[in-house]
């Protein structure tokens, strides 16, 4: 059995940064979905 490494509790600051990163990724993914949808509509309209 592998030795367990102690887990350091996440500080408030680290949690805040993680929330910031997660929100940024969410916004980027949402934007990409909207962009790919728009591209698809434009491409279909010009077929």
């Amino acid at each position: 059995m592998a030795p367990q490494t102690p887990i350091r509790p996440m500080s408030d600051e680290a949690a805040r940064r993680r929330r910031g990163r997660n929100l940024a990724i969410f916004i980027v993914l949402l934007g990409l979905c909207a962009l790919f949808y728009a591209i698809t509509i434009v491409k279909l309209a010009h077929l």
Partner: protein, 334 residues
């Protein structure tokens, strides 16, 4: 001294023992640090910093101008996608460049606070981020816009990463002369996004940015010479001295001005652009002449804290914006 010769890399930041390296070493290789721990310190703004956002403004702008002045029509959504792909690919180049140059970034005062040397992002993560964005942007460009634009985009990324960053930057004072081609691609890509091909006009726009790059970067290098010397980067002022650099800045600017008039002389743009290009060029010439005539000691070191070089560097950025802006305006109004 922990400075490499030729293309040898400065020892990795995790084991660096000089200057900023001590700080960095304590962050990334401290006995208390755990693998992957740097990620807890990462703010999303650090990832944006990896993309070199200040450089991106010029890339976006020149790419947009290439797209605007190109003959033909591209749907706004696809035009936006093309500019987004150019922007993301250029940002990816910045991230890969920061990954590769993390050793010298840790030494240079101007760059030591970047996310990798400061220990806020791990080098491998930055590389993965950059490669993912580069590949993704080329694929989206190919699928959404057209294949020629995607191929030129891929070429520009490869040129920046392999030719400039990995090959030229640490080997020759001609690094930013040849490497400047990487930054000259955006208007060509913008043009290709609309037309699906490349002809004389985008090549002239490419040439303008290509010839503009040396006076722009050498103006910066004149006052950042100590940084480049410490990092062992063979920029022209380090290798040939400040006096020769000032002379080269003037020579490149003299070549640049007639080239900026080429769109007018080949009949692509009207007289308003021609006048704007000539006036902007004359002011640029005046700025670089002041760099040449700067008060200096026997070794060529500025006695004015390189004020003229700083002014020329600042103006060179406005100059390119104004020049390309004038071209687009002339095209839209004329």
């Amino acid at each position: 001294m922990n400075i490499r010769t030729g293309n040898q890399r400065v020892s990795d930041v995790t084991s660096s023992t000089t200057g900023a390296g001590e700080v960095i070493g304590s962050t990334l290789s401290s006995p208390l640090a755990q693998p992957g721990e740097a990620i807890f310190e990462t703010d999303y703004r650090d990832w944006i910093t990896l993309l070199k956002p200040r450089v991106l403004t010029l890339v976006v702008f020149t790419g947009l101008i290439g797209l605007i002045v190109a003959p033909g029509h591209l749907h706004a959504v696809l035009g936006f996608t093309a500019i987004l792909c150019i922007t993301v690919a250029a940002g990816a180049c910045g991230a890969i460049n920061m990954w590769y140059d993390r050793d010298i970034d840790a030494i240079m005062h101007r760059t030591r606070r970047r996310p990798i040397p400061a220990g806020r992002i791990e080098p491998g993560a930055a590389l993965g981020f950059g490669v993912t964005l580069a590949v993704g942007s080329v694929i989206v460009m190919g699928l959404a816009v057209n294949i020629p634009a995607a191929l030129i985009l891929a070429l520009s990324v490869c040129f920046y990463v392999f030719v400039y960053t990995m090959w030229l930057k640490r080997r020759t004072p001609q690094n930013i002369v040849i490497g400047g081609a990487a930054g000259a691609f955006p208007p060509v890509i913008g043009w290709a996004a609309v037309t699906g091909s490349v002809d004389l006009v985008p090549l002239i726009l490419f040439g303008i940015i290509f010839i503009w790059t040396p006076p722009h970067f050498w103006s910066l290098a004149l006052w950042a010479i100590d940084d480049y010397r410490r990092a062992g980067v063979p920029m022209l002022p380090v290798v040939s001295g400040a006096r020769e650099t000032r002379r080269q800045i003037l020579l490149y600017t003299i070549v640049l001005i007639p080239l900026t008039l080429a769109p007018y002389f080949i009949g692509f743009s009207g007289l308003p652009y021609g006048i704007a290009a000539a006036l902007l060029g004359l002011v640029f010439l005046q700025k670089v002449y002041r760099v040449l005539a700067d008060r200096q000691d026997a070794a060529g070191k500025s006695l004015t804290s390189d004020k003229p070089a700083k002014a020329a560097f600042k103006y060179s950025i406005y100059y390119l914006f104004a020049l390309f802006g004038a071209l687009a305006l002339d095209h839209l109004v004329g």
